[in-house]
């Protein structure tokens, strides 16, 4: 693909495309939401390191999420989603469907369910240990009987895939599952700027305030931005935002920096320049947030999702690891346990500038039409 053609869409390495010579390898995050505990340490570390002002102290009544969402003064946001058993079953089913569709990265779907399991050991929620030799009850039998009794009473609504009544089924690899779905689960996910390969915010910025760093990330220069707000509307993920005077200072002198200027995660550009890990990744106590080269992150993510699938968590899926998607892949890769929109992420984001040529063509046609209409209006008899 030519240099110009890959500027707006398709898979590419963004830093060299932006003119960086001898750019270091592209950096990125991998946020594994399956091990996020919702401690919000990432939010706090981000706020502290980047000296971001307060954006209100309110209770949202949306589970434990009182942050709301990403914005000018929130560059990491932990989402909390509470789900019933039916929702878990739906998530698992939608994940299984993805596998059966033969999604990219794994080639053809595995052979039909029922073949000899690869790992062999039973999988599922609350996988019990095998009974000790010769004594003690088999926990798996106890679990099966409790599942059977529960299935008889609580699942009156009875969705076909949701009950898990007869048997917990098998994993996508054919490993028999043990244990029923839990009655409830809490999804927690730390969201952040995606640092897209084709970043809408960067493409539409009229001043050049947004730029592509040598690490392949997207950063705002606060002293250049004139606050036109165009980037806000061009982000397919709703990340970047213009800071308003509603922000509250946390400094002694009461100063709020950069009011009226578009703000977002910089992937700790200052720390990266000194070979440091971004604040959120460094503080994360469970390694839910990982930082490294983007290729490393994608590799780890693929390993992890495979691992989870083998354990029976078919709801696990990756978000942003595909370079052929509408934004050319994201620098921040996520492992999700349900459909993206459940977490407030767009299910099929497309960078608007991918269609820019088409838009300008139509506008050109309309402009020629206007010129023709004006000419037509002046044809005819003189006064």
């Amino acid at each position: 693909m030519g240099y110009l053609a890959r500027q707006l869409a398709g898979r590419t390495d963004p830093a060299p495309d932006a003119g960086w010579q001898e750019a270091p390898e592209r950096k990125g995050f991998f946020t594994d939401t399956s091990i996020c505990i919702g401690c919000k340490a990432c939010e706090v570390a981000c706020k502290e390191w980047n000296a971001i002002p307060l954006d209100g102290l309110t209770l949202s009544a949306n589970s434990y999420d009182n942050t709301g969402g990403l914005g000018a003064s929130t560059w990491r946001h932990v989402a909390f989603v509470e789900q019933s058993r039916e929702r878990i079953a739906e998530a698992r089913e939608s994940g299984r469907r993805l596998v059966e569709l033969g999604m990219p990265g794994m080639g053809a779907p595995p052979a039909a369910v029922g073949g000899a399991p690869a790992g062999g050991s039973p999988a599922g929620y609350g996988t019990p240990p095998a009974p000790a030799d010769g004594h003690g009850p088999d926990l798996r039998d106890m679990l099966a009987s409790s599942t059977a009794s529960r299935a008889g009473t609580s699942i009156a609504a009875g969705t076909a895939g949701a009950s898990g009544a007869a048997s917990p089924g098998t994993t996508v690899d054919g490993t028999p599952m043990v244990g029923a779905l839990p009655d409830f689960r809490w999804l927690m996910a730390s969201d952040v700027c995606k640092h897209c390969t084709h970043a809408g915010c960067l493409d539409v910025c009229p001043t050049g305030a947004l730029f592509r760093s040598e690490h392949g990330t997207v950063v705002v220069q606060a002293d250049v931005c004139n606050g036109c707000g165009y980037c806000v509307g061009a982000c397919p993920f709703g990340v970047i935002e213009r800071r308003t005077d509603a922000a509250v200072s946390v400094r002694e002198d009461g100063h709020v920096p950069d009011v009226g200027i578009a703000q977002k995660c910089t992937l700790c550009y200052d720390r990266l320049t000194d070979d440091q890990t971004p604040a959120c990744a460094q503080t994360c106590p469970t390694t839910s947030i990982r930082f490294g080269t983007r290729q490393e992150m994608v590799d780890i993510a693929r390993e992890r999702v495979t691992e989870l699938h083998e354990q029976g968590f078919t709801e696990a899926r990756l978000y942003g690891a595909n370079d052929d998607d509408g934004v050319g892949g994201t620098g921040s890769v996520f492992l999700l346990l349900d459909e993206p929109e459940v977490y407030g992420l767009p299910p099929d984001p497309v960078v608007p500038t991918a269609k820019l040529a088409e838009m300008f063509r139509k506008a050109g046609l309309a402009g020629v039409g206007l010129l023709g209409a004006a000419a037509l209006a002046f044809v005819g008899r003189r006064p």
Binding site: M103, T207, G229, P236, L318, P347, E358, F360, G369, L371
Partner: protein, 380 residues
């Protein structure tokens, strides 16, 4: 639905305000509530084997506590006002050049003054809407073809330069100055520059009228992005309608014939283009923001005024009174169209179902066709 004695402490639900496609809201209770109400979801809606389950499930989807997925552009009423004024400026420039070429002096003078006023006001509206207005010149520190706003800034600047010279030539023509001396020289110089300036103004006018459609479409705002093929035609038609209307109101009927024809072509095209835009969005289940609420009311009024103004122009354009009334109606219709389209876009960005719905549907369509390589969600 379950009830408990604690239910009375709950705040009343905001029911009935708007129809939601799905009440599943990422809640523990959401799915259960759905099932209790309908007993069906897309997973089990095959009706117990009586009929086949569709290959593409209904695009039922969740959202995150009803919060928007994308952010609306933080633009206030200055931007639709700018769209309107830019359209008036562009159309007036074309009328001015046409009038200059065909010797309609009053029409030329009036439309040049209109164009200059509109371009100054639109520039002021743009600056006023910036988060840091004192930095508006930063727009001119770079030329960026991927940014419609950068391209538009240069188009507006170029147009303003030509309009400025044309207006100066017009002023120079109107005032009496001694033939000798600096002022006389300036007058003669401006008279020489009149024709090139008029040509330049006419050349920059169509891009000025059309680029604003790209400006809106090159965002993720669902209504604007999805109407990228129709919006330029709506906007140039609106520009013709507005500028023709203004000259119908300002210039004598004997000279305003071209303005009337220009406005009529504009009004007719506007009605057709809006119709096509709505049809297109209807197919994407995105037409609701254009038909309901404030945007719906604004656009309905705009259509009414377009028809009324168009009919007035067509039937009695040579009556001064009807001409003024029709001209004002057409200009107002153009302004309302801009405000309506902008408001509809904002509304479509604020409600997650307009973001998630079309995306889910196109994803399902692609999957049904076997295209799975371009999804942002992958497994392994």
């Amino acid at each position: 639905m379950t009830t408990s004695r604690f239910d009375s402490y709950r705040p009343p639900e905001e029911g009935g305000r708007r129809r939601r496609r799905s009440s599943v809201r990422g809640h523990a209770t959401g799915a259960a509530r759905d099932l209790a109400r309908t007993g069906r979801s897309w997973l089990n809606r095959d009706g117990g084997g009586r009929r086949e389950a569709p290959a593409v499930p209904d695009a039922e989807f969740s959202d995150y506590y009803g919060q928007p997925v994308i952010k609306p552009v933080p633009w206030k009423h200055e931007i639709p006002l700018y769209l309107f004024l830019g359209g008036v400026a562009a159309g007036s420039g074309l009328i001015a050049t046409g009038a200059a070429a065909t010797g309609r002096h009053v029409l030329r003078r009036n439309s040049r003054y209109t164009a200059m006023t509109a371009v100054v006001l639109s520039g002021a509206a743009l600056v006023a809407d910036l988060g840091r207005p004192e930095r508006f010149l930063n727009m001119l520190r770079t030329v960026k073809l991927t940014s419609p706003m950068s391209v538009g800034t240069w188009i507006l600047s170029g147009y303003a330069a030509f309009a400025g010279v044309a207006t100066a030539a017009e002023v120079a023509r109107a005032v009496d100055v001694p033939e000798r001396g600096v002022l006389g020289t300036a007058q003669r110089t401006l008279a020489l520059m009149d024709a090139p300036a008029a040509a330049g103004q006419a050349l920059f006018a169509p891009p000025l009228a059309a680029y604003t459609a790209v400006l809106l479409s090159d965002t993720v705002t669902p209504v604007w992005f999805e109407s990228r093929s129709q919006l330029p035609f709506v906007f140039v038609a609106s520009a013709a309608m507005a500028s023709g209307g203004v000259q119908m109101a300002l210039s004598p009927v004997t000279e305003a014939g071209p303005a009337r024809r220009f406005a009529l072509i504009g009004a007719a095209t506007d009605l057709v283009a809006m119709q096509r835009l709505e049809q297109h969005l209807h197919g994407l289940e995105l037409v609701e923001p254009l038909e309901t609420g404030k945007a719906g009311r604004t656009l309905r009024l705009a259509r009414l005024l377009t028809v009324a103004g168009g009919l007035g122009t067509l039937l009695a354009g040579r009556s001064r009174l009807v001409s003024v009334a029709s001209g004002v109606a057409l200009a107002a219709a153009s302004a309302l169209t801009r405000f309506g389209v902008v408001e509809a876009g904002m509304e479509s960005a604020r409600d997650p179902r307009y973001t998630v719905g079309p995306q889910k549907r196109r994803l399902e369509q692609r999957r049904a066709q076997g295209a799975v390589h371009d999804s942002i969600v992958t497994v392994r």
